[in-house]
Symmetry: C2
Subunit: 262 residues, 2 copies
C-alpha cells in the first residue's frame, strides 16, 4: 500500500498532518532526501563541506536563493517548511525541539540543502535479489561513528558516519557494482570486513539506528552515511539550524533511476 502512494500524495498527507512518521518504504522508486537548513552566513562553508565530502554528503538539490522555501526542482509544489514529516531544531549545535512544521521558524536568510539517502540504493539491491537485513528485520539501519576524517571546510569538520549492511561475499561484489552506478546516493561502500580498521570497536553497539543480525559467513559492509553532516553540525555549532528527523525524509518526485550514472 504505502509503496504505491505517489510522492505528491505522501507530501500532501504530511503537509496536512495525516502522516508524521518515517518515510521508509513509501513511494517506491522515488528519491528521498536528507535535509539541512542553515542561515546564509553558514551556507557557503556547508556547501564546500559537501563538495569536499561527496560520499557522505551527496548534494542533490538546494534552494535557489536564501529564504526560498519552494524547492520546485525536487518536485511539484514542494514546500520545505511543511513537507517533511518531522524536523529537528538545533540552537548553538544543541537539539532543542522536534516539530512537524517549521513555518513559524522560517527566516529570510535560510538556505536549504537536500542530500541523497541510502533508500535510493537499497531499492536496486533488493531488486537484484540481495537481502537488506535492516529491512528484513524491520529495523533502522545500524550506523556507526568511524575514525575516517572528513575533509574540513571552513567551520565544518568531523569524522564520517557509516551505515552497515551484512551480506555474503558474492553479494558484496554485486552491491559494489550496483552502488557504483549511484554516486549521488553515497555510491560504493567505503569499507567491508574488519570494523576495527575504521575505528568501530563493537559492531553490536551502534551510535545511531539499531543493531542487526550478522549471520555466519556474512561480512559487514559499510557505506558513507547522511548522518555525517549532523555530526559536523553538532561540532560546528551554528547558532541556528534545522534538519529532518532520522528516517523522516523529504519524498521527491525524482525517480531513483535518474540518479544512476549508467
Amino acid at each position: 500500500m504505502k509503496e504505491a502512494l505517489s510522492p505528491q500524495n505522501i507530501r500532501n498527507n504530511i503537509r496536512h498532518g495525516k502522516h508524521d512518521g518515517n518515510t521508509s518504504g513509501y513511494a517506491n522508486g522515488f528519491v528521498q532526501g536528507n535535509i539541512v537548513i542553515l542561515p546564509k552566513e553558514w551556507a557557503n562553508d556547508f556547501l564546500l563541506f559537501c563538495q569536499r565530502n561527496p560520499k557522505p554528503c551527496p548534494l542533490i538539490g538546494m534552494s535557489s536563493e536564501p529564504g526560498d522555501f519552494l524547492l520546485t526542482e525536487m518536485g511539484q509544489d514542494v514546500d520545505i517548511r511543511s513537507d517533511v514529516p518531522q524536523y529537528r531544531i538545533f540552537k548553538d549545535g544543541l537539539l532543542t525541539e522536534e516539530v512537524k512544521d517549521i513555518t513559524t521558524y522560517w527566516r529570510d536568510d535560510l538556505v536549504t540543502f537536500v542530500l541523497g539517502c541510502s533508500f535510493s540504493f537499497e531499492e536496486p539491491l533488493i531488486a537484484d535479489g540481495i537481502e537488506i537485513r535492516n529491512i528484513t528485520e524491520n529495523k533502522n539501519v545500524p550506523m556507526y561513528k568511524t575514525n575516517i576524517a572528513c575533509k574540513s571546510a571552513g567551520r565544518f569538520s568531523g569524522n564520517m558516519v557509516v551505515s552497515m549492511r551484512p551480506m555474503v561475499v558474492a553479494d558484496v561484489i554485486r552491491a559494489i557494482q550496483i552502488c557504483t552506478r549511484f554516486p549521488s546516493v553515497h555510491g560504493a561502500p567505503v569499507h567491508f570486513g574488519a570494523p576495527e580498521e575504521i575505528g568501530i570497536e563493537n559492531i553490536n553497539v551502534t551510535d545511531f539506528g539499531d543493531s542487526v543480525t550478522i549471520k555466519p559467513g556474512e561480512i559487514p559492509v559499510f557505506w558513507a552515511c547522511g548522518v555525517t553532516p549532523q555530526v559536523a553540525l553538532e561540532q560546528a555549532k551554528p547558532p541556528f539550524c534545522i534538519t529532518h528527523s532520522p528516517g523522516c525524509m523529504l519524498v521527491t518526485d525524482i525517480p531513483n533511476s535518474k540518479l544512476s550514472i549508467m
Copy 2:
C-alpha cells in the same frame, strides 16, 4: 622498451623466430588473447561453453569459417599459425608437444577462438595506483582450481580456475569498480577473502603459476581465469586441439580501452 613495441612489431618478431617467450608487459595498451583451436565438430560445443561461462571464457574473437587462419578482426595480417610465441598440441586431451609454429599442423576443419586475458585489466588497475603483486615480484600470476562448477555445454564441463591478486580493502573496492568496466577480460572478481569458501585448501600452493606474498592486512582477491577452458578441454578429451602456452598470448591491435563498456 618492450612496452613500447607495437603489436605489429611483436607479431612480426614472433613470426620470424625472434621472440619465443611470454608476452607479459609487451605492447602496453593492447589486448592480448588466450587461444583455443578445435576441429569444427567440437567448435559448437565449445562456443556454447564460452557463451554459458563468460567470466572464465570471455570470447573476443573467432575465425570466420573453419580452416581460416587469418584473424583480420584481431589485427593487421594476423596469421594464427605463426603469430603466437608458443603453442601446445593436445591429442585426446593429453599435451603431446609444445611448438613455435603450427603451420604444419593446420587443417581445413580447425576453428580458432580468442578469449580475453587478465593482462588487459591489470593495466588500468596499475594506472589507478593499485599494486599488482605478481608484477611487482616478477612472477606469473598465482592460479588455483576451485569448487565453482562451470555450466556444462555438450561435451565440455569442469570447475572454474581463478587467478589471485592480494590487496587492501580500499583497493578491492576500487578493483571491483574498474574491472566491472571490462566484462570481456573476466570482469569483476568472483570471490575475495576466505580461499576455502571456493575450495582452495592452501593459498601458498598454486595449481598453475607462482605463489606471491600476501602482506598483513591484505585480502586475496580471485578472478575467473582463462586457464579454465584448458581444464575443460583436458576433461572433454577432443582428439585434436591446440592452445597457446601459458603467458605466450596472441598480441592484438585492439586497444584495451575498446573493451571498456564505459
